[in-house]
Amino acid sequence: MITQAMLIEILENICKTIEENMSYLTELDIAIGDGDHGINMNKGFTAVLNKLPSLQDKDCGVILKTTAMTLISTVGGASGPLYGTAFLKASSVVNGKMEINNTDLLEMFNSAIQGIVSRGHANKGDKTMLDALYPAYDALKEAIDNNNTLKEALQAATEAALGGVEYTKTIKAIRGRASYLGERSIGHQDPGATSSYLMLNAAYNTINKRG
């Protein structure tokens, strides 16, 4: 169970993680993109961080929708609308709810992925954020189906996302800016997959710390 207070804590942690990894994400994007992913994401999550205090007593739907709209209007680039849409779709699953149960979580994650796909039309193996998110979803689903704890489920999802990040190094980009590099994109890690993993890891760390 994730209460709205925990949700806010998770988002706070995501914001911090993105800030800490701004240069790292930018480096990755310099290699196969245009070198702005860390900068874009940090701009967005800095704006989210500034909004969080005003969301202290709001429900999970409002918190996630505000996050979504903030990302949409600050990040820019490809990742802005994609992550924005993901959070927007996730928010509609928990409209009016003050807590998120494991079934909600799974449905939120699924909706988020569907949102990204319907905006960006990418497939598995196209070397995008989806290559971290799909395996993460599968792991999350398996863990929850097997009645694991939230913490265990998030840990499994995070590990699977990291596996997905590693996998992006081995494949050729088909979508996004890196696709222009063709074969030359192989060997490089996808920035968006990396930021997806970092966000999941931040969520897991928050839950893990709470014990």
Partner: protein, 331 residues
């Protein structure tokens, strides 16, 4: 990083202020937004053209706001698509009852952000259409990938669709003309040096003293391949070969040529390039109707150029010739 700037995070803001202060007779800024619109909104209900994208391509796109070209331009951060709310604001500001045509370069980020803006505008009952420019032949066109990029050919879309809108054509007509330009223009570029996004502080790639990047886009990203620098003649002949392989132009047909500098290339070299372009076209019996040489779709301080060839018919010729009066393009 050597740049004449103040704060890397303020470059877009201060540039827009500098543009408005230089050309108040042409453009004004929508307060609170990174959007330039015409200083004087046309009084008749013409179709309004809005373009935009990441900054760093100056004079694209803000420099093309004015009579006969754009009605509004949205400036994202450097090389980063602008957000939907900014585009939406531009659309609302320029709509004059005739509807709005968005000219979008084919990059995932631009597509997605402009698409979300269209959705917002449609919800408010504004007629919005989009044209996606994808003129770069360096990238193979395949339905399995993101497709070709939009590069300097976009400027010709602005010019010609802008002329059509100024003549009072309908949204559908202007859109069709923009699509016709896109269907008939092909571009390809190369560079001698990388460029540096101010906020990133270091260049997007490294090149040895005798190397060039071929087939690159306009965002400081690497190209399709790297090669030893050769002569202007060989470089141009390679680019022209790729361009002319991708579009059928017969002897006797007419074209417009755009030799576009990427920001750090001396005009001298652009004219040397044009000399080679013209010789190749002459040899093939292709007639040069109009040539444009200069910095129109740049990549910050990158040294390099692109060639765009636009196949013309009578309609395109007439629109290409009609008046354009903007800070960055006058005719």
């Amino acid at each position: 990083m050597k740049k004449i700037i103040n704060d890397p995070n303020q470059v877009v803001n201060e540039m827009l202020e500098g543009v408005v202060k230089a050309h108040p007779e042409y453009v004004k800024r929508l307060e609170g937004f990174n959007v330039l619109v015409r200083a004087n909104k046309p009084s008749f209900p013409k179709v309004a053209l809005v373009s935009g994208g990441g900054s760093g391509h100056e004079p694209s796109h803000g420099g093309f706001v004015g009579e006969g070209m754009l009605d509004g331009a949205v400036a994202g951060e450097v090389f980063t698509s602008p957000t939907p709310d900014q585009v939406f604001e531009a659309v609302k500001a320029v709509d004059n009852g005739g509807g709005v045509l968005l000219v979008v370069k084919n990059y995932t980020g631009d597509i997605l952000n402009f698409e979300m803006a269209s959705e917002l505008a449609a919800e408010e009952g504004i007629k919005v259409e989009s044209v996606v420019v994808n003129d770069d032949v360096a990238v193979e066109n395949s339905t399995w990938t993101t497709g070709r990029r939009g590069v300097a050919g976009t400027v010709l879309v602005h010019k010609i669709a802008g002329a059509a809108a100024e003549k009072g054509k309908s949204l559908e007509e202007v859109k069709a003309i923009a699509e016709k330009v896109n269907a008939n223009v092909r571009s390809m570029g190369m560079s001698l040096t990388p460029c540096t996004v101010p906020a990133a502080g270091k260049p997007g790639f490294q090149l040895a003293d005798d190397e060039m990047e071929v087939g690159l886009g306009i965002h400081g990203e690497p190209g399709t391949h790297r090669a030893k620098i050769t002569s202007a003649k060989e470089i141009v002949s390679h680019l022209m070969e790729k361009i002319l392989k991708d579009i059928d132009i017969n002897s006797g047909e007419e074209v417009a040529v755009l030799v576009n500098g990427l920001g750090g290339t001396p005009l001298m070299e652009l004219y040397i390039v044009n000399n080679e372009v013209a010789e190749i076209l002459n040899e093939k019996g292709i007639k040069i109707y109009k040539t444009i040489v200069g910095n129109y779709m740049t990549s910050l301080e990158m040294a390099g150029f692109s060639i765009s060839i636009l196949k013309l018919d009578e309609e395109l010729k007439e629109l290409l010739d009609s008046k354009a009066d903007t800070p960055g393009f006058k005719l």
